[in-house]
């Protein structure tokens, strides 16, 4: 093995408790610093309040979806339906509210219910009908896509102006939407690292049969994480409706939230096989992707180049994890 990967892996490993998400946050700090320098050389200013708020708001939609995806992946499953759940929730919120400020709570409730239902269907198809998670959630994604594209061409319904506070307002320098993401992350972190349910998610993702033999009921855990993933995607949909003023069938798929959330989860150090990784790692990955976006926007770079660089970052990072794993085994 040549010297560089060894040094890097040593850095990633050095004295950290296993399962820490610190390395990925260090990577984020590094990416941020490099971005600031590069933009500075390009004659701009990266570290401005406006730009930071911009990066934060970019992170929210993907961040919300990624929290749910991380729960699902930690349980050893996968959710490919999230992008369309985002659209369904955005449309539901916008149609139920219909511009009426009095119906805001109702609209949010209906959107979350729709997301939870989609997650429930995912979970029941996987556990009850024993369909592979990849296929089950892909199938649900197609069903939702067909339904919303048949019913709507573009924007439908409207959210009241007051509701756009969520998408645009800033409180004490912090965007409201970032507070929303922070709340969801805090709740999910507590759930995963402090409650029995979270312990059982790790157990089922690590070895479902061992968990079953220990008295855990894996099916309940799997249905649970899929419902939570549906709820997270729906929250993201509600945020996007607030941002855009209305829901539309393309808001989820155009954001690419299905594959991007999986990429962020893996980039964040979570094993796709399940059971291994922390919740905060994937959030750092979302932030890294947002910083990259911001740099490319500054230089008004070719969007295809942007995608290409994303690919390199994801493959490179996961290869580093592989090296780290190999180092630990030897």
């Amino acid at each position: 093995m040549n010297a560089l990967p060894v040094q890097v892996t040593r850095l990633l490993r050095s004295g950290r408790p296993a399962g820490s998400s610190l390395p990925i946050w260090l990577t984020f700090a590094g990416t941020f610093a490099v971005a600031a320098v590069v933009v500075g050389i390009g004659g701009g200013r990266f570290v401005t309040v406006a730009n930071l708020q911009n990066i934060a708001q970019r992170s929210v939609a993907l961040g919300l979806v990624t929290v749910g995806q991380a729960l699902v992946v930690l349980a050893g499953s996968l959710d490919l339906s999230v992008a369309y759940v985002v659209s369904v929730a955005a449309l539901t919120a916008s149609l139920v509210m219909a511009g009426d400020p009095a119906r805001m709570a109702l609209g949010v409730g209906a959107a979350l219910l729709a997301g939870a239902l989609a997650g429930l269907v995912n979970g029941l198809v996987i556990t009850g009908l024993r369909v592979n998670a990849f296929i089950a959630t892909l199938g649900v994604a197609y069903i939702l896509r067909g339904a919303i594209n048949a019913a709507f061409d573009n924007f439908a319904g409207a959210v009241p102006d007051q509701f756009q506070v969520l998408g645009y307002d800033v409180v004490a320098g912090v965007p409201v939407s970032l507070l929303l993401l922070g709340g969801v992350v805090a709740g999910a972190w507590y759930l995963m690292h402090r409650t029995r349910f979270g312990y059982h998610v790790y157990a089922v993702g690590g070895d479902a049969e061992a968990a079953r033999l220990s008295g855990v009921r894996p099916h309940r855990v799997l249905v649970g994480v899929h419902v939570l993933s549906g709820l997270c995607a729906a929250t993201s949909g509600v945020f996007l409706a607030s941002r855009l003023g209305a829901g539309a069938p393309w808001v989820g798929p155009d954001g690419g939230y299905d594959l991007e959330s999986i990429a962020a989860v893996v980039l964040g150090g979570t094993a796709l096989a399940g059971g291994k990784g922390r919740l905060l790692g994937p959030l750092a990955a979302v932030a890294i992707l947002a910083v990259l976006d911001s740099v490319f926007n500054f230089f008004q770079a070719d969007p295809f180049l942007r995608t290409l660089v994303r690919g390199l970052v994801i493959v490179g990072a996961v290869a580093l994890y592989g090296l780290r794993g190999a180092g630990e085994r030897s």
Partner: protein, 505 residues
């Protein structure tokens, strides 16, 4: 602390009775009308040869497999156990043969998995650590840090954690399936002392072991299973090791003549030699196989038999020791290196390890020669029909998808693969498992022909008649070493005595 049963029950009723339990898998009956009773304060050993149904019976008890027939009675009340969760709730705790620990979670999290102590909504981590430490201290294992990840523990430590976990359910019946396989003698002594304490407090222990010495040391009664049936239950004080082995093997089987080879060939030169082989489950193995010789390897599951051939073939390379093929020392670090050295390995599980099932049989037969190419693949392909006739496979079957062939035909395809590759040393692991009687005779004949043609053959078999019928010599393994060697025509009982660690050798 772990084992006081909830309510004192009438001492006249056994804590457990299993009545006429039957279990089938895919049409094969693996347990037939097995009955068993167990009393409070009793260690009840269950013994039997491989495939006798011991582990399956215990998994029925643990709710892992629902039975197809029969009844479970706990403290006089019939119960149905649909999943492990229910069995645990009824106070039945299993220590499985395979580990059920999560490597990426801590010791404490593993021990209390599914019953994490809570304070309001959250898991009470301090209480969890405390409980785990207490359970480990009870096992004299306070040295195991409760916060360490299980993957950082030694095998023996994992076994101890597994036991602590089983006891944390406060069971009234504890099932231990080969619990000492990974332990050192000192650790076994600690475990036995602990089991005696628990039993003295009224726990019932069902104890599965291949090691008869443990049965005599620990158990009060012993039940023998054979071929999925209950053979006998005896007081341990009123039975000898030889009697137990007789019961395990079966009188009719023991008496049946399994025609050992009539003429043992003149020993040729040594083709395969392993010296001081150490590695996974291997603690110093020396073995030699000569030209034209069939060496049978006896032993029970977990004795290291399969680990030996897998090590020789480079699947899990030896940690230390030497392997010589035809007098040349070889460093075999991968199957490819083994094939290059002239070895062929007929695996026990041909469906996952021996064949690529969706491919046509012909492609499977040529897989190795195409990949490793000790001789031109084209020549082998041209000779395919000759190879097929040599193993007795109809040539029309060569174009069929391998999945649809019978077990016997599939095994013939595996043999063709090694013939095509030009192997000179053959490692067989259970060569006739799952093969019908006719094909079995054919495979036996083929193994003999290979040997007559100059090949050296090392053959593992759990079927004693097969071992006796084919082997020119029989090496018996126990606990990762060679327990002894027997000449052609050895008796089944002698093989079994060596395999259970009772041999004089």
């Amino acid at each position: 602390m772990a084992a006081s049963p909830a309510a004192p029950t009438s001492p006249a009723a056994p804590v457990l009775s299993m009545h006429r339990i039957t279990k089938r898998f895919f049409g094969t009956t693996v347990l037939r009308d097995v009955s068993l009773t167990c009393w409070r304060g009793e260690v009840h050993a269950i013994v039997g040869a491989n495939g006798a149904g011991k582990s399956t019976l215990m998994k029925v008890l643990g709710g892992v497999y629902p039975p197809d027939g029969g009844e479970l009675v706990l403290d006089g009340r019939p119960v149905r156990l649909r999943d492990p969760h229910q069995a645990l709730a009824h106070g039945i705790s299993l220590i499985h043969q395979e580990f059920t620990l999560l490597p990426e979670r801590s010791v404490a999290e593993n021990i209390l998995l599914g019953r994490e102590p809570r304070r309001r909504l959250a898991v009470d981590r301090r209480a969890m650590t405390e409980q785990a430490r207490k359970l480990l201290t009870d096992l004299d294992a306070q040295a195991i840090p409760t916060q360490r990840l299980v993957r950082r523990l030694t095998v023996a430590q994992r076994q101890t954690v597994e036991i602590a976990k089983a006891l944390s359910y406060r069971p009234r019946i504890l099932v231990m399936d080969e619990p000492t396989a990974a332990l050192t003698p000192g650790e076994v002594a600690v475990l036995f002392r602990r089991v005696r304490q628990l039993v003295a407090r009224g726990l019932a222990v069902l104890y599965i072991s291949h090691r008869l010495a443990e049965v005599f040391e620990l158990a009060d009664r012993v039940t023998v299973l054979r071929d999925g049936r209950h053979v006998d239950t005896r007081e341990v004080s009123a039975v000898t090791a030889t009697e137990l082995v007789q019961l395990m093997v079966g009188r009719e089987l023991a008496d049946r003549e399994s025609r050992p080879p009539v003429d043992v060939p003149e020993p040729g030169s040594v083709r395969l030699a392993v010296h001081g082989g150490r590695g996974r489950n291997l603690h110093g193995v020396d073995i030699e196989v000569r030209e034209r010789e069939i060496v049978g390897v006896g032993g029970l599951d977990g004795s290291g038999r399969s680990d030996l051939v897998r090590a020789v073939f480079g699947v899990v390379p030896l940690a230390s020791g030497t392997v010589e093929v035809d007098g040349v020392r070889r460093r075999i670090r991968s199957p490819r290196a083994a094939i290059r050295a002239g070895l062929g390995y007929v695996t026990a599980d041909r469906k996952t390890e021996g064949l690529v099932l969706p491919l046509p049989a012909a492609d499977n037969a040529l897989l190795t020669v195409r990949a490793v190419g000790r001789r031109p693949a084209r020549a082998a392909a041209a000779a395919l029909s000759r190879l097929a006739s040599r193993v007795g496979l109809a040539t029309v079957l060569l174009r069929r998808e391998t999945r649809v062939l019978s077990g016997g035909s599939q095994q013939k395809v595996v043999l063709m693969k090694w013939l095509a590759a030009g192997a000179r040393v053959y490692l067989f692991d259970e060569p006739t498992r799952g093969v019908d009687v006719g094909a079995k005779a054919g495979i036996h004949e083929l193994i003999r022909e290979l040997a007559d043609g100059g090949a050296a053959i090392l053959m593992i078999s759990s079927e004693l008649p097969e071992l006796i019928a084919l082997s020119h010599r029989i090496v018996v393994m126990h606990a990762g070493t060679v327990a002894g060697e027997l000449p052609a025509g050895a008796r089944e009982a002698d093989i079994m005595l060596l395999a259970t660690g009772q041999g004089a050798a």
